[in-house]
Symmetry: C2
Subunit: 694 residues, 2 copies
């Protein structure tokens, strides 16, 4: 599927090299840090020791997010929202740690997480030559792809048996480079402390992506080895004073994905077609779920997760879209692309790259006429509900599984079988009323977008109104019964055909067309990928790794200043205070999500209100950086990233530092909360002293 | 402007005569009541006395809505939401009667409304012949229009001087008939009782257009003459038991407007183009305002009215749109149109009418390509904020006012001057932040819909992003200063041109194109109006007034049963009870808008919970019917209309009685609330006895 923010990684610096010389841009590889920029712009001399220490004190959460060691006894800090998945899995109706918080006063009270794995990067090795050597010069794209994958798997296997470390070969610069990352793995991870979700996510959706902010978005875990707290050689000293406005600070973490490489033609496509479509759909869905939720407390509960996801996406997309309308962003993109093309001009070795720009523009033009149909039918946004999704997987499993592995749709491959079945047979509750609501609305959307007279629309609606048809399909299908799914899946094609389940029937009605649309789009995507590859190679040939690659959830170093900004003629301060949170709560009359935990209200007088709580900086970050430590020149922990402001949403496409800001919890604010609200004296002592006992 | 629900009135019965024989359809004229249907379907003999009494006991609120006399001492009941405008005007910060309610225990406490006028219909006279006689056979459409208006004005003037009664000639059946309506006018209207808005609109937006419902949507006024309560000859006896399930009841009120005449071609245009566009805009606006409101209490206050309006429209439109997708509705429309065309076939006198169907279809096709542009530029939905609206009126006033009256855009006519200036110089607060939010979003919408590269879009944005441009325009303009407006308006064109106000400049940038689009659409609308006129005349020639005309805010009689319905396989009961309201509030944990006034909570134990509160019926109603009395066979007051359910939203286009329901407050529930909650013994006695003292 052609998704927002999808796109081959590369070319980032290519398009922004000019600006990076003049700003604190960059998600830098640890093998290629911005030494020169730090020296010239900030008078800071980056040493290898400093860098190695920070690298080994940085922690990757495989559930998606970042963290760091903050004591030699294996204490890890991350965001509450990064730890939320682990907290949820430890919670029961009786003990809702996710909502109510948790505090182990002794190591004996620390509880082991169900399936949390933490990784700590130990070394990076450039294996580009070996990977490329595996590919013969005359190989077709398919053969090249296969040979490269085989070489990478061999390197990983070798490294694992030699070092015992988790070993991943990662692709950088869209194939411009291949690096072997070796990680120490921790699988015995225990929960130490979490605040109430109320204060971790104070302000909820209204304040999400906003600033000023007042969130204690932290939680603490501890890694264990052989049943005892692990002794870790690298950990960050806690700065009790924390970051000060104007101070140079660093962020070490795992930005998930950026799309700074896209050509102007593709960015325009996103701006003019994809974003408006996606935002229309999201806003429509948000109104639907909000209005339905308001009708009953049970509706609210049932729709809560969906609604939060929709609101979060809507806010992020609205921000990204505004960025694409900003001449500062788009103008820079146009200028950079022009500059690059000038460098490529007249050089025969770059003929492929030059042609690639036209190829990408052509692909946009070819995708445009059927993109909507693809999203509605293959993307199922015109048939959106869990029951349809299950029905289609049953239908396609029956068709696909009998085929040889290599010829199946990729989600039916043998490698993915286990997780496919886990998802297909999930016992998660599916509510008939919510299903009907969603399907009725998406069938209406389908009819609106393709036209009521469209043959596929007519076939799907079968002479009914969207509401009546949705009700009939949802009520008539058996696919919400897991036993039914298991039986059909086991018995295969004949059983699926014989079942006459109405939702499976409707999946069949659209299947041939949906598959056809998918094949068309996949072919164009492949063409586009190769074109981006050609540009990336040219780029790399011109500049090597003097720049940073697009984010790929590998460890990166960003730097920037703790710094406020101007917005609508007002100065937004660099940091907020603890008393600011109480003011905000009072200003919103303590209505959820602006209410505060009982404990906070009771101990309010004991809290030093002037202590900094959250702050903003010019660091170049993106989703995945959540939980990243912010450190000062001395390498001390001064804060923890937990969000970006609304203007940072453009960072997916381009760096900006006038208004885009990273958001962090301040190290002094964390200490003060632990001390005065949670009376977590043992934990505070461990943070201050860097070890558990002393 | 081509608006939803716009459309010349007529043909209603034409398209639905078949169904009206089989159902309780119809908004009947008092001169042409459904005697035969009532006799054959319900065994009810409608007498002229019964009808005259009900007509003279029915009250029209000129602010928009219906009501009735319920005591011989001039006591009037209507809906709280119909009286809201009067309540608002009597309220101050100190005494918020709209929010907190009002109760005059003696006539001395009754307070006079600022500008409320009530009309009571006294007689109806058919003046069709005289109006038509004024039009010469060879007159052009323009001449015919003028001659007819003159004849109508003459009839009205004559009647007024002869009877002293307000006299209006109304157009029915789209010019098929002209009737003279004479009203007794009451201008001294005093407030007697209103409950808290909380209980009048219990459930707020989430329960708006929904059922089951629990709203005490009533208030009481009293008409005065010569400073004393007026003695009225016709008033409705209050039924203490009220309506029972299955009972035949009647609704006497003033339905505002229906569009049941539209041809299938125009309905398809609405379904496929207009509704999707309007709903996209409404949902986008709803998300914008909801998200912004959630950011602060002050934002919530500022956006409240706008947001309620958007939600109300969105819900109404979603319902109407669903109706247009319902094959039961559209199938009937298609069949009826086919049947009518068959009757017209081969008869030369109906050649115009036959051609009219094609003309209307052609107009849809011609409107389609520029309708969006028209809405965005002339409709200003791409430049949506109060500041722009003011700036454009200043700009156009300077251009238009120097022209002769007859050549101006119609909103600048001499007749409308007073209200135009009142609106232009209104001191209502306009908030810079909300203006910027709205304009930024609508400029984005403009760019999305017309394309970023469109010349007009480029000229409007002036090289800025939508957000930056909106901020610049709203901050730079002076039009929010009323003195500035007055000065510019007074000084005229030269001053407007000299001012260089950026919002006026941007209005000028789009003005020529906007005016051109308006001219194009007005020409097509005129063509369409004439085509509908031709169909209506043919219709009328075939059937006379054996059916009912489209609603036009004239008094109508509807009838139907108190009756529940089936929805999603569940039976929805015909009535709710007072204790049901407490259950609903508890189920929603008393969170607004499901909280109850203090008084209700305190006196809960005194309330008889089993008393019916709200009920539903199959009456054919639409907006404007709010406040209409529901009476039984004996002509007694058994309830008061206050809303329709979600399925009733299709009644704009066609009658339906499977699920569409009118919603009323039950007469017994009103009495019980007055007695047990408000201890309004004097008022209760007046209702029960039909007079103040006794």
């Amino acid at each position: 599927m052609r998704e927002l923010f999808r796109g081959p990684a590369a070319l980032a610096a290519a398009l922004f090299l000019q600006s990076s010389a003049r700003s604190d841009e960059g998600m830098w590889l640890y093998t290629n840090p911005p030494r020169e920029q730090l020296r010239s712009r900030h008078g800071f001399e980056l040493t290898q020791d400093w860098l190695d220490h920070l690298m080994r004190a940085s922690v990757r959460f495989n559930s998606g997010g970042s963290g760091s060691f903050v004591s030699e006894d294996g204490l890890v800090i991350s965001n509450h929202h990064v730890g939320a998945d682990a907290l949820q899995k430890l919670s029961s109706e009786k003990s809702n740690y996710l909502r109510d918080g948790f505090h182990a006063r002794t190591t004996a009270d620390e509880i082991r997480c169900v399936d949390l794995e933490l990784n700590v990067l130990q070394s990076i090795e450039d294996v580009t030559a070996r990977v490329n050597a595996a590919v013969k010069a005359d190989a077709s794209p398919e053969e090249a792809f296969k040979a490269r994958r085989a070489a990478m798997a061999e390197i990983e296997k070798e490294s694992l048996s030699k070092t015992g470390l988790r070993s991943d070969v990662v692709t950088l610069y869209q194939g411009g480079a291949y690096h072997l990352y070796r990680f120490k793995k921790y699988t015995d991870v225990r929960l130490v402390f979490a605040p109430e979700q109320q204060v971790a996510f104070f302000g909820g959706d209204p304040d999400n992506f906003e600033y000023p902010r007042y969130d204690l978005d932290v939680c603490f875990f501890r890694v264990y080895e052989d049943g005892r707290p692990a002794r870790v050689p690298h950990w960050l000293k806690w700065s009790a004073n924390g970051a000060a406005p104007g101070e140079l600070t660093f962020v070490s973490g795992h930005p998930g994905r950026t799309s700074r490489l896209l050509t102007v033609a593709e960015l325009e496509y996103l701006r003019d077609e994809q974003f408006p479509y996606t935002l229309e759909l999201l806003k429509r869905r948000e109104v639907l779920l909000t209005a339905w939720s308001a009708r009953s407390a049970e509706n609210t509960r049932r729709a809560k997760d969906d609604l939060f996801g929709v609101q979060n996406s809507r806010k992020a997309r609205d921000g990204g879209h505004a960025g694409l309308y900003d001449p500062a962003v788009m103008g820079a993109k146009i200028a950079a692309e022009k500059a690059l093309k000038e460098k490529l001009a007249g050089r025969p070795e770059f003929a492929d790259a030059r042609a690639a720009f036209d190829t990408i523009a052509r692909v946009q033009g070819e995708v445009r006429p059927f993109a909507m149909r693809h999203r509605l039918l293959e993307g199922a946004q015109g048939l959106s509900c869990d029951s349809f999704s299950i029905a289609r997987r049953l239908l396609r499993a029956a068709d696909e599984l009998p085929k040889p592995n290599g010829e199946r749709l990729r989600e039916f491959s043998d490698a993915g079988r286990e997780s496919f079945e886990m998802s297909l047979f999930s016992e998660q509750p599916i509510h008939e009323d919510l299903e009907t609501l969603l399907l009725a609305d998406s069938l209406t959307f389908l009819a609106e977008k393709l036209g009521h007279g469209d043959a596929t629309v007519q076939a799907v609606l079968a002479g009914k109104s969207p509401r009546a048809r949705a009700s009939e399909l949802v009520r008539g299908t058996q696919v919400r019964d897991v036993a039914f799914r298991r039986r059909l899946y086991k018995e295969g094609a004949a059983a699926v055909t014989a079942s006459k389940d109405p939702m499976i029937e409707v999946a069949r009605v659209v299947d041939a067309e949906a598959r056809g649309l998918r094949r068309r789009l996949e072919a164009l995507d492949e063409t586009e990928r190769q074109a981006y590859g050609a540009i990336a190679k040219a780029r790399f040939a011109l500049e090597g790794s003097s720049s940073y690659p697009d984010a790929t959830f590998t460890l990166r170093l960003s730097y920037g200043l703790v710094k406020g900004y101007e917005e609508d003629g007002r100065t937004v301060p660099a940091q907020t205070t603890l008393s600011g949170m109480f003011d905000r709560a009072a200003g919103m009359e303590y209505r959820p999500p602006f209410d505060l935990p009982k404990r906070w209200m009771e101990r309010r007088r004991a809290i030093k209100g002037t202590v900094p709580f959250n702050f903003v900086g010019t660091h170049d970050i993106i989703g995945g950086n959540s939980g990243s430590p912010v450190v000062n020149r001395a390498g001390e922990f001064v804060g923890i990233i937990f969000d970006g402001n609304i203007h940072s949403l453009v960072l997916d496409f381009a760096f900006e530092e006038q208004k885009a800001r990273s958001l962090s919890v301040h190290s002094a604010g964390i200490l003060e909360a632990l001390r005065s609200v949670y009376r977590a004296d043992v934990l505070v002592r461990e943070l201050v002293q860097g070890r558990r006992k002393g």
